[in-house]
């Protein structure tokens, strides 16, 4: 099993979720995060004083998948999240040693 972690633009979330459903991913965990990167931040004004806010609102997805689904899930996320403009985000793959469904105690791929 692998844990896919992807940082994407917030307004692509719905598309990504739909794309993941299509390839058979049943669950996702989403976190609101702030990203620093190549994409530049925005300026805010305060009584004429301008300050630059460097961080940008992003959304982080965590999806645990069985090896068999890995490539399809990665493809689904990257396709659906891509706008082609700077700041589209990153996708990381981490090894997952175990998974448990808390409700039933099922383990391994069956837990996902």
């Amino acid at each position: 099993m692998k844990l896919i972690t992807a940082v994407i633009k917030p307004f692509r979330l719905d598309e990504v979720r739909a794309a993941l459903s299509e390839v058979g991913v049943a669950g996702i965990t989403v976190t609101e995060v702030k990203g620093f990167g190549r994409q530049k931040g925005h300026a805010e004004l305060y009584r004429g004083a301008e300050y630059v806010v460097d961080f940008l609102p992003k959304v982080k997805l965590e999806v645990a998948v069985d090896e068999a689904l890995l490539d399809a899930a990665i493809e689904a996320i990257t396709q659906a999240a891509r706008t082609g403009r700077i700041g589209d985000g990153k996708l990381f793959v981490l090894p997952l040693e175990g998974a448990i469904r808390i409700r039933t105690g099922e383990t391994g791929p069956a837990a996902l």
Binding site: E44, L45, Y46, R47, G48, A49, E50, V53
Partner: protein, 442 residues
Amino acid sequence: MSKLHVSGGFLGAGLACAPALACAGTPAGINSGDTAWMLVSTALVLMMTLPGLALFYAGMVRAKNVLSVMMQCFAITSLVTILWVVYAYSWALTPAAGGVNAVFGGLSRLFMRGVGVDTVAALAPTIPENVYMCFQLTFAIITPALIVGAFAERMKFSALLVFTALWVSFVYVPIAHMVWGGGWLGAWGVLDFAGGTVVHINAGIAGLVCALVLGKRRGYGHVAMQPNNIGYTFIGASLLWVGWFGFNAGSALGANGGAGAAMVATQIATAAAALGWLFAEWAVSGKPTVLGIASGAVAGLVAITPASGTCGPMGALAIGALAGGLCYLSATRLKKHFGYDDALDAFGVHGIGGMVGALLTGVFAAPLLGGYGTVGTAAGSGFGHQFLIQLLGVGVTLVWGGVGSFILLKFTSLLCRGLRVDEATESTGLDLALHGERGYHL
């Protein structure tokens, strides 16, 4: 010139009605229409501080200090109320014997002694003295509350209480007496219809002194200090606008033509200043902000305050537009240039706006310019003269208020072992560290 029914403007039309109304069977002179309006004005001016000003300021600080600002305004309101009825009203607005009267009032109303249900004050002959006293109290409340903007996010709560008590007693009270209570400035002819000098310049200069004595907030200038809730600031500015009708039109001390004229001047100047700041900012930074238009409106309200009893509608337009532009510059350029941390621009808006208004009062009172004042008549006499008198009023307030505030801060610092919270408190935020609460649990 005192905040009298017959002030510098409006030519006394109001007073004439007093004897006739006496026939209505109410206690000599009390007019129910005037009383109704002054009861309401009192409520409106209280609303300017709670929740108006408190929200205006609280929205601009960081989320960790939002409650501390509300606390300061609420505590000031409570504390000043007690001081006022115990001695400050008497000291400010009743006559003292002999030369003292130039600066301080008398002691005849200590603990409200002699104020009955149907007594009236000489300064407001058509309403119950209780109402006049309470109306004036709301001015004594908002003035120290305005100073909060200067030392926000870093002053000790205990020091705030001590400083407020001292400042009201030794700065607010004498200035109010000198201008409105029968003291020498009013006698000299300084025009201050609703408190340009007494309230705004006074609070503004105190704020500047506070900002200088307390020093900058940690991180000022390099950390982004994001206003936590511009919506609060918007609500606050709106309630200040609405409540200011009580402040200015209420200063006519009756429901008469003078109140109507003051209301119109207030409305026009506020709108003009809001647009003035808005367009200045749009031109300079490319974006018109809500904080900007709201600040502009407040600047206009401040500037029209002393003039609202004597200027005409087009004078109000001019005063407002100028105040909006100048306060924009002072809050953005002046502060940057000199590097003091007047956190929420108590001086930049109230000090500068108050001075613009106080001086232009001397200009736009002239009937030649559409004003209702007794200066600058067709004969041309007294025009420059009134301007000089206004300058004198401004100067005295700046000196008395500036020096007084400095001394009282130093004294407070001794009593409270410092004026500022320690570093950990400032970094945690005053809400949690001083008050054990947090503003939001959403």
